[in-house]
């Protein structure tokens, strides 16, 4: 009898713990349900569809010459845009953080325009001003340089779309830099350029890399403006997202799925890299 009661007691005592560990609370249920519906299911559908093709067919479609060329145009151009904006975006962030000038608030707001403006509008504007007789395009025409409807146009569109990512990632880190850090470097005899390269830049580099990675992945995914500003001719300036759309137009669903899956996998790797960079950037934080 006593042993039964004590057994019951231990059962009762254990019970809340058990329920805690086995039952999933409501916020978890909602989160998992939502993520499944919005993110995981569509991605799973894409991968499942491409898996039905079989390895040989998948590989053939994924590595077709037109596809390889489209990957090259997409990733190399996006990387170039990311790197250029890594430098220019950092400079813009530096100016916005360090200097007071009339219209600063407006400039600060304008940086975000690529976030807000529909990509088709961006493509329209870029195609207009970079075409042979557009405001900027006509400056290059005498040198035989065409921008709109070439790979350079793709590059310009990617620059446009990725700039705010770098500026907005670097800006808060620059704001956090204490002025005392620079003053300490001066008091130790460091020149302006030594102070910049040895003291100011190193803590900002992880943020710049994160911004470049974010801008790069955004540029890889850009479709709306590129489809307008480029001629989308295979082996010239055709990017992978546009290739997916062209394949769909030709009812080549398998081909579209395969290219889509490749883009998805690359994006996943990129996002892991970005997460890693962000963690790395916090390693010296207090």
């Amino acid at each position: 009898m006593t042993s039964f009661i004590s057994h019951l007691e231990t059962q009762l005592r254990r019970k809340p713990q058990q329920t805690n560990s086995t039952r999933i609370s409501l916020p978890w249920v909602i989160t998992i349900g939502y993520l499944s519906l919005i993110l995981l299911l569509p991605l799973a559908a894409l991968i499942t569809k491409s898996l039905t093709l079989g390895m040989g067919e998948f590989w053939q479609a994924a590595t077709a010459p037109i596809a390889l060329s489209a990957y090259e145009v997409t990733f190399v151009t996006a990387l170039a845009a990311g790197i250029i904006n890594g430098i220019m975006g950092t400079l813009v962030a530096w100016i916005l953080v360090r200097y007071q000038f009339p219209g600063k608030k407006i400039v600060d707001a304008v940086i975000d325009i690529p976030f807000a403006v529909p990509t088709s509008v961006a493509g329209l504007v870029l195609a207009t001003i970079y075409s042979d007789n557009g405001w900027i395009g006509q400056l290059f025409t005498p040198f035989g340089i065409k921008i709109a409807f070439t790979r350079l146009g793709v590059f310009v569109a990617m620059l446009f779309i990725s700039l705010p990512f770098i500026v907005r990632t670097v800006q808060p880190v620059l704001l956090e830099l204490e002025p005392e850090i620079e003053q300490a470097a001066w008091s130790l005899g460091a020149s302006e350029s030594q102070t910049f390269w040895r003291v100011i830049l190193p803590p900002v580099i992880p943020a710049i890399l994160t911004g470049v990675a974010l801008g790069f992945s955004r540029a890889v995914g850009e479709y709306g403006s590129v489809v307008i500003v480029a001629s989308s001719i295979p082996f010239r300036d055709l990017i992978a997202p546009v290739l997916v759309f062209q394949k769909l137009e030709q009812y080549d669903y398998n081909g579209a799925t395969v290219i889509g899956t490749v883009l998805l996998l690359v994006s996943l790797v990129l996002l892991l890299l970005i997460n890693f960079l962000q963690q790395w950037s916090r390693r010296y934080a207090d």
């Binding site: 204490e178 003053q183 300490a184 001066w186 130790l188 005899g189 460091a190 803590p203 010296y284």
Partner: protein
């Protein structure tokens, strides 16, 4: 190395941060700039460092006019309140920063860093990053970094301000011992009178952009030049000439204000000679000291400090009557009403 500041003024907009400052710092001394916030003490330090340029006046370091010299060429060491360590560099790299800039030979740098790590008692911490150190350790690294380049003068801006009480005391004692070994001309800024007294050879009391008094800790405490210094370097009771304290022997001039430090009272339980009746309102135990809040016959109140033994011997209770006799009263001619706006030209009439 001496520091000579002559007729230095500085304005920020309409705010007069420094008002015609003259100050001589003798070679090898440790000087505290003491004052409330906004008194100009940090601005003065930053002017010596070259982080601010004065509107007027000259700054000389070791008889060399450095007024318009770039901070990089002044050969000063500067320590900041919030350490300002380079977070992406290890302790060793932080300390060697100035030596790397000066392109010293690798072997010299290694030896110097080793000596400095010993000096700041952080041997074995050379490869850590600043975020792996406590506040007190960080400030010691900041000090070693400043000392590494063998500066002519060391300037410290509220160096203990960001530390908790115990570490602050340890570090200030350590700084004093360090200074006794190194004898580097040093100026440090503080708003903490106890810190200034504990560390400095000389204290410069500042208020509203002006120097109120320069003196050793004892001089400043025993012979304050004016009511501001009197009340800034220690607690005071301010008495009016109508106070019952003056009912007996003391002659009280209405144009004079009287200051008595809380520990400058003799307390008796029975009437003595010139003693004045007071009632104990509150007893506050502050460790080795006991603070009494008393009211006098005219209902004015008074703070008196007793040491523990004296308090126990007198066996005081609240609402008890006691008899007071001031040991020392300081008088200053009353020119302005506000204690903290008193100009420097008061005279000390009696003590």
């Amino acid at each position: 190395m001496s520091i000579t500041i002559s007729q230095v003024s500085k304005k920020f907009g309409n705010f007069q941060a420094l008002d015609n400052i003259d100050l001589d710092v003798q070679p090898g001394t440790l000087v505290a700039l003491l004052g409330p916030s906004g008194s100009g003490k940090s601005t003065l330090l930053r002017t010596v460092a070259g982080l601010e340029t004065p509107d007027q006046g000259r700054v000389r370091i070791n008889n060399r006019d450095t007024t318009n010299l770039d901070i990089r060429k002044r050969n000063i060491g500067f320590v900041f309140q919030h350490y300002a360590l380079f977070k992406h560099l290890t302790v060793r790299e932080n300390i060697s920063f100035g030596l790397d800039i000066r392109k010293k030979p690798r072997q010299v740098i290694k030896q110097r860093v080793k000596e400095l790590l010993e000096l700041i008692q952080l041997e074995g911490f050379g490869d850590r990053y600043p975020n792996q150190l406590s506040g007190g350790q960080r400030q010691r690294v900041a000090l070693a970094r400043a000392l590494a380049v063998q500066p002519e003068v060391l300037l410290l801006d509220e160096p203990f301000g960001a530390l908790d009480a115990k570490v602050r005391q340890e570090l200030r004692d350590w700084l004093r011992r360090l200074h006794d070994e190194v004898h580097l001309t040093s100026i440090f800024v503080t708003h903490d009178r106890e810190e200034a007294m504990a560390v400095a050879d000389k204290i410069v009391v500042m208020n509203q952009g002006k120097i109120e008094q320069v003196g050793t800790p004892a001089e400043v405490y025993e012979h304050p030049a004016n009511p501001f210094v009197m009340s800034f370097v220690g607690e005071v009771n301010v008495l009016l000439h109508t106070s019952p304290i003056f009912d007996h022997a003391h002659r009280a001039n209405p144009a004079t204000r009287f200051f008595v430090r809380p520990h400058d009272f003799e307390v008796f339980t029975t009437p003595q000679g010139d003693s004045v009746l007071a009632k104990v309102k509150r007893i506050i135990h502050l460790g080795w000291q006991v603070q009494l809040e008393l009211t006098l016959g005219d209902r004015s109140s008074l703070i008196v400090h007793l040491n523990r033994e004296e308090f126990v011997r007198l066996d005081l209770k609240t609402e008890q009557n006691v008899y007071l006799e001031p040991r020392q009263i300081k008088c200053f001619e009353q020119v302005k009403q506000d204690l903290f706006n008193s100009p420097a030209d008061h005279h000390q009439l009696a003590s």
